[in-house]
Symmetry: C3
Subunit: 140 residues, 3 copies
């Protein structure tokens, strides 16, 4: 019979960069004993993102960071909201350009991720932060 | 027992800018008497977005608008699809760069939004529009 | 009574461009006999996207392609991850700037898409690929 469960966890970031949470999310699916269903993750912040990207060559993530650093430069004179420093508004823009929630089907007790897909918290602030992720699962 | 409900509402925009819908969405969750579950919002348009962003300092939203206006300039000679004016194709591009649907878990009868997160319709067209949002809730 | 179903299909792309899947997704909803509910699509790749965009004037999609080609140029010297060629890293960046999953409510046995909305696989690689889409439906 269909049932649901909720969960929340935090990710301690060490500043700008990618923090993989695939294993943690998969472990929770196992705890919930859901074989088929849907999981939704929501990041409760406006200056970090949830991103599904390649988990093989780490150079892909470094290139993503290089591209976004050039596209949304820290300290850009365009920005008025600078209360928390040069990376404050760029972090909001990067978040708007990506996403804070994801929904992924579950089949055979596993996320239906592709071979090269991993789930990441992408920290956009330069300083370390504690980021909260809320999760909801539905299935049987 | 798990149940679902559907809802649709419209947002009258006064042209380019952000229109917060958090309160309206929260009120509907109350009407549905869902304590734990999942809500999905879908914007039925291709030239406006749904965005979760900071609801505290309004300068953040003005800076987002400034950044996107520079990134995707109105009247860019690159664009061929200009039937509805200089902001026509930029509105489609801004929509592609952001999102038209969002899924957010519900806990304790509330959206699990972070302290600073609000849900916005982001109108990308210069003229006022009526924007339709379809909502689906699942929970108990 | 609420029930769920899962499905997976592949899309044969002929290189960079848009491939509409709206009809295929709608047909599956019909097969599942779901009148009201929620469908989630997940693309199992990191160099192609799922995008909801205008299905009327094809020039819109050509302009989207022109814009993204200029924003994330193939062969950009910024990128280090070039194992699969000049379009390798740009494909990852385009994917990060858009999305690989979508959730859309169903009403009256139909997706609640707007009049001008179609669902597309957006292939970012220059060469043809076979792209897998996992789908989950919930409803009654």
């Amino acid at each position: 019979m269909l049932h649901q469960a909720s969960y929340e966890f935090s990710v301690a970031t060490r500043g700008r960069g990618f923090y993989e949470i695939t294993r943690q999310v998969s472990a929770w699916i196992g705890d919930c004993a859901v074989q088929q269903g849907l999981i939704t993750l929501h990041l409760r912040h406006t200056s970090a993102s949830l991103l599904i990207q390649e988990n093989a060559d780490p150079e892909v993530r470094r290139d993503l960071e290089r591209f976004f650093s050039r596209l949304v430069p820290d300290g850009d004179a365009l920005f008025q909201h600078t209360a928390e420093g040069e990376d404050d508004m760029p972090a909001h823009v990067r978040t708007a350009l990506t996403a804070v929630n994801l929904s992924i089907p579950i089949m055979d007790s596993r996320l239906v991720l592709g071979t090269w897909q991993g789930i990441y918290v992408w920290e956009h602030r330069v300083e370390p932060h504690s980021r909260r992720v809320a999760a909801h699962i539905l299935g049987e």
